[in-house]
């Protein structure tokens, strides 16, 4: 502002000087005349006459001054004129501003989400160096199969990373400050916080050089937990808490808003971090030295000066060496490899494509809105043709008029953008609640300067885009012809009419693209939501509890199957006794259909009887432990053999139930019943397949054919327990009831997360549902705008051809012919729009094929239905003006 002020002052001084100079000129001229003998009055008058219009001279002289000041001044003038012009046609201005407000508002809203999730740097210093490390089995297409302690050490020593820290999320039971509650716990290496380069708000984090085997007894807590469990007690440092009955002392509190980087919502909401050496108690010798996966994966910071590609290349070399060194652990066929994922991609990877899709869709919507406003402007430009001609005739240069018109459209779009952003700010709180909670960094969504800048640029660009066509038209105005036209003023130039038709065709085409994309998404969603589940989710509620996993195994009340089974039986018995409960079962976390946290150790590395370890068969299978009633409760169908019974215990032979997909995948062409396998590398006894159930979509709504193996909870332990209840009751009350029952048995156990299975399934669709709904909304808006657009063009042609139509009717044309003639014109536009739109839709559909489910990208039904809807609505937009034309009274029309 200071700069502008200085600028204005300098400009004023120069103007004064120039004015003085011109005055002197006049005086000198007059003096000369007096010297030649004229009378003083005569001399002054003549001098002034000779001089000309001094104001004009001043003005055009100033025009020679350097760019910016002139530019600024003219801009100010142009904006003032533009505002005056816009005020003169309030109806037009309101419609145009609202259309643009809609486009800019929607685009900015979507951008604010994209900005917060995909563009904002992650809140860690030099976050570009941070990666997630995952092990894949390329041979079987399995990703993120887990990592072992020796692999972690290999990576630490590789020289590629500054630090590598495993991250192992788990629920935990916290007792100490209050009654038992479930907390999200992240087990990390002591270098975790140093690797992220984050500092606590109180106390300290772990000593990254700490090489204590086992847990070092320190815990860092989140700001949220500090508030919830400790009432922001400033003397928190050094306080003790019981985590799974082990005692930890709190060494630090992370700042508010700090989140653990993670792909999953649970892990991002981590409340307690504990440091672990990934060897030593409670792990036994085997677990910490074996190359069998122990934890899900690790995070790391790449050393300074190494690029991601370079790091990946070196890690590939490391993996290659390890495969040769340990052929039993990494069989050649499994294609074991280590993959580095940029941290951002890991965190937001799941929502990237839906968000980009939304951004593309809203961009189309904005284009359609622009086309609409361009059309309005063109219609008005026709009406203003005379004004433009007059202005050119009296000396307005075409370039100045173009600039004036562009200023008008940019002013218009800026007002629209301003309105859009204002609406967005007003509705911000409401809108954010519509975003599904699964979107990472949701709390970061805000209308910050980046978003505002985007809105400004988008508005300006929109103004130029829709202002260009009418502005360029000015150059083509034939001034003489225009001024000769009499009476009601000008009709549009041929060029203008063609531009308007082109705009409508473009608008229809873009709308069709958007509508077909939306149609395909809706179809996908429907086929997902309506896919036969293969199990019965109605009236099922799930409540979670978790058995402690103390570091000192002698303190573990539930250390063996034999110790855990009575608890499981007792919970089942008590649950069955609750009124309204028809049946009850327990299972491990992985047994919960569709909603189980990924951290569950449900990826089993199985060994098959009679096949060598380094055989050709993939060996990672999803598994869970359940009680016998589980299958019946969920309505899973037994096809062959038998289900578990209460008599399958730790003293009887180990048994397993598998699904058809598992049988097909691992015993193709054979009878899987009676076949033997080991469910982990540590199993000594074989487990026998005793039953085969029908495939169901318990793992993924998208596919029923994922191999699954079930073990009996009475034979194989599960720490995270899901209690399944079928019946008619109220979910929240049930959680309390179950908590009472469980805590009667053991008051140190938390009970949490009651949810109906229906809700869980619907929750797993939240992001998809959200993007579908939003695109649906965009598509409907696009359809409306496009039909308005075609209505405008047809109505305009009709009004322009009133005389011609009058003549036709007077000469005996049937009214139906008139209707047909006008509709044919509309149909031609619709036809062209549809043809182009279909091509665009095919391209768009192919691009989004990865997001579709159960519907081909070129789904004929969707294409046909959506095209029909567009055509019908667009033609309906033509019918109104066509009928008006039909009813035209020839007498009135001809008198004009």
């Amino acid at each position: 502002m200071r700069f502008l002020e200085l600028f204005a002052r300098r400009r004023a001084r120069r103007t004064d000087e120039l004015a003085e100079e011109l005055r002197t000129h006049l005086e000198l001229a007059a003096a000369d005349r007096v010297a030649r003998g004229e009378s003083p009055t005569e001399a002054a008058a003549n001098a002034r006459r000779e001089f000309g219009n001094s104001g004009l001279v001043l003005d055009i002289s100033r025009d020679q001054w350097s760019g910016f000041g002139n530019w600024l001044e003219r801009l100010g003038q142009d904006v003032r004129i533009a505002l005056r012009v816009l005020r003169r046609t309030p109806g037009f201005s309101t419609v145009a501003i609202l259309t643009i407000a809609l486009g800019i508002g929607a685009t900015t809203a979507i951008f604010s989400v994209v900005n917060a999730t995909l563009l904002h740097p992650l809140p860690y210093p030099r976050a570009g160096q941070l990666v997630r490390i995952e092990d894949d089995l390329a041979g079987t297409g399995s990703r993120a199969v887990g990592m072992s302690t020796p692999e972690w050490r290999d990576l630490q020593r590789s020289g590629v990373f500054e630090a590598v820290s495993p991250a192992w999320f788990d629920d935990n039971n916290m007792t100490g400050p209050a009654r038992a509650q479930r907390v999200g716990l992240l087990i990390v290496a002591p270098n975790y916080f140093a690797m992220l380069r984050v500092k606590p708000q109180i106390g300290a984090t772990f000593d990254s050089a700490d090489a204590t085997p086992g847990f070092n007894g320190q815990a860092v807590i989140s700001d949220g937990l500090w508030e919830r469990a400790f009432g922001r007690d400033p003397a928190i440092h050094g306080r003790f808490v019981q985590l799974d009955s082990d005692s930890y002392h709190i060494v630090g509190v992370m700042p508010r808003g700090f989140q653990a980087p993670s792909a999953t919502r649970q892990e991002r909401a981590t409340e307690v971090w504990v440091a672990f050496g990934f060897s030593g108690a409670p792990l036994d010798q085997v677990s910490s030295q074996s190359r069998t996966p122990l934890f899900p994966g690790a995070f790391a910071r790449i050393r300074d000066g190494l690029t991601l590609a370079e790091a990946q290349r070196r890690v590939d070399a490391l993996a290659h060496a390890l495969r040769r060194q340990f052929p039993v652990d990494y069989p050649a066929a499994s294609g074991w490899r280590i993959r580095l994922v940029p941290l951002r991609e890991h965190v937001v990877g799941d929502v990237r494509s839906p968000l980009l899709l939304l951004m593309a869709a809203v961009g189309l919507l904005l284009l359609i809105a622009c086309a609409n406003v361009a059309n309005l402007l063109l219609a008005r430009a026709t009406a203003r043709g005379r004004e433009m001609a007059v202005r050119q005739a009296i000396g307005g240069s075409p370039s100045r008029l173009v600039r004036q018109l562009l200023t008008e459209s940019v002013t218009l779009s800026s007002l629209g953008g301003l309105t859009g952003v204002a609406l967005l700010l007003a509705g911000q709180r409401f809108l954010i609640r519509l975003v599904p909670a699964g979107v990472p960094m949701l709390s970061g969504i805000s209308i910050d300067w980046m978003v505002l800048l985007f809105a400004c640029v988008a508005s300006a660009a929109a103004g130029i885009v829709f202002g260009l066509a009418p502005a360029m038209d000015v150059r083509r105005i034939d001034v003489t012809r225009m001024l000769k036209v009499e009476g009601r003023g000008a009709t549009g130039t041929r060029q203008q009419k063609r531009t308007r038709r082109l705009l409508v065709v473009g608008e229809l085409a873009l709308s069709l693209v958007l509508m077909i994309s939306a149609g395909l998404l809706v179809r996908s969603f429907q086929s997902l939501a309506n896919a036969p589940l293969g199990f019965d989710a109605r009236n099922v509620t799930i409540v979670h509890t978790r058995l402690p996993y103390p570091n000192d195994s002698t303190e573990d009340l539930y250390g063996t199957v034999g110790a855990e089974a009575p608890f499981v039986r007792e919970v089942t018995r008590r649950a069955m006794a609750i009124p309204g409960v028809e049946s009850a079962a327990l299972g491990s976390g992985a047994a919960v259909p569709l909603d189980h946290p990924e951290q569950d150790q449900n990826a089993l590395r199985v060994r098959f009887d009679g096949r060598p370890l380094d055989g050709q068969v993939p060996t990672v299978v999803t598994g869970s432990q359940v009680t016998p009633a589980y299958f019946h409760l969920l309505g899973l169908t037994l096809l062959r053999g038998r289900l578990f019974s209460d008599f399958d215990t730790d003293e009887s032979p180990q048994v397993a139930v598998i699904n058809q997909a598992m049988a097909r995948a691992y015993w193709p062409g054979q009878d899987a019943l009676g076949k033997r396998l080991k469910l982990s590398r540590r199993d000594t006894a074989w487990t026998t397949v005793v039953g085969i159930i029908a495939d169901a979509r318990t793992e993924s709504l998208a596919s029923p054919a994922i191999p699954l193996v079930y073990a009996s909870l009475y034979q194989r332990q599960g720490k995270h327990l899901a209690i399944f209840l079928r019946g008619h009751f109220e979910t929240a009350a049930m959680e309390k009831r179950i908590r009472n029952e469980v805590q009667t048995i053991n008051p140190a156990l938390p009970v949490f997360g009651a949810e109906t299975l229906d809700d869980a399934i619907s929750g797993s669709l939240a992001v998809r549902r959200f993007s579908m709904r939003v695109i649906e909304l965009f598509a409907v808006t696009a359809l409306l705008l496009a039909s308005l657009g075609i209505y405008g063009v047809i109505a305009y042609t009709v009004s322009e051809r009133t005389q011609e139509i009058g003549v036709r009717v007077a000469l005996g044309a049937a009214r139906a012919d008139i209707l047909r003639m006008i509709l044919a014109q509309g149909a031609a536009l619709v036809g062209a729009g549809v043809a182009i739109g279909l091509i665009g839709a095919v391209i768009a559909a192919r691009a989004m094929a990865g997001m579709l489910f159960g519907v081909s990208p070129i789904d004929l039904a969707t294409f046909a239905v959506v095209t029909t809807v567009l055509a019908v609505v667009a033609l309906a937009g033509c019918v109104v003006p066509a009928r008006r034309a039909m009813r035209a009274d020839p007498v009135v029309a001809l008198r004009g």
Binding site: F51, N53, I60, R62
Partner: protein, 119 residues
Amino acid sequence: MSNSPPTSRIELLQGTLDFIVLQALRWGPCHGYGIAQLIRAQSNQALQVETGSLYPALQRLLRQRAVAAEWTVSENKRRIRVYRLTPKGREMLATERSKWEQLSRAIAGLMLPPAAEEP
């Protein structure tokens, strides 16, 4: 204007005025009115420079740094702004002049055919 018939005046080609103004300043610093008078006198009243052309031309030349301006007090105690050629202005003048000479030779060749071809 009163002492020359309007028909004998020459409309100045665009861009030529700048050249003429520079040319006028060759004789020494001068103010705006003086430049106009100088041009009129030197062209035998044929070139009449409108103020609406002269002052924009001066501002343009100022911006191109072909001339410099300063305020001084004239002999009859009037505050006036005088313009003078800068080195850059002299350079421009030289190139313009050689261009002009080429052009006028060419035009002269077209307008006045060689005597040999006259019948």
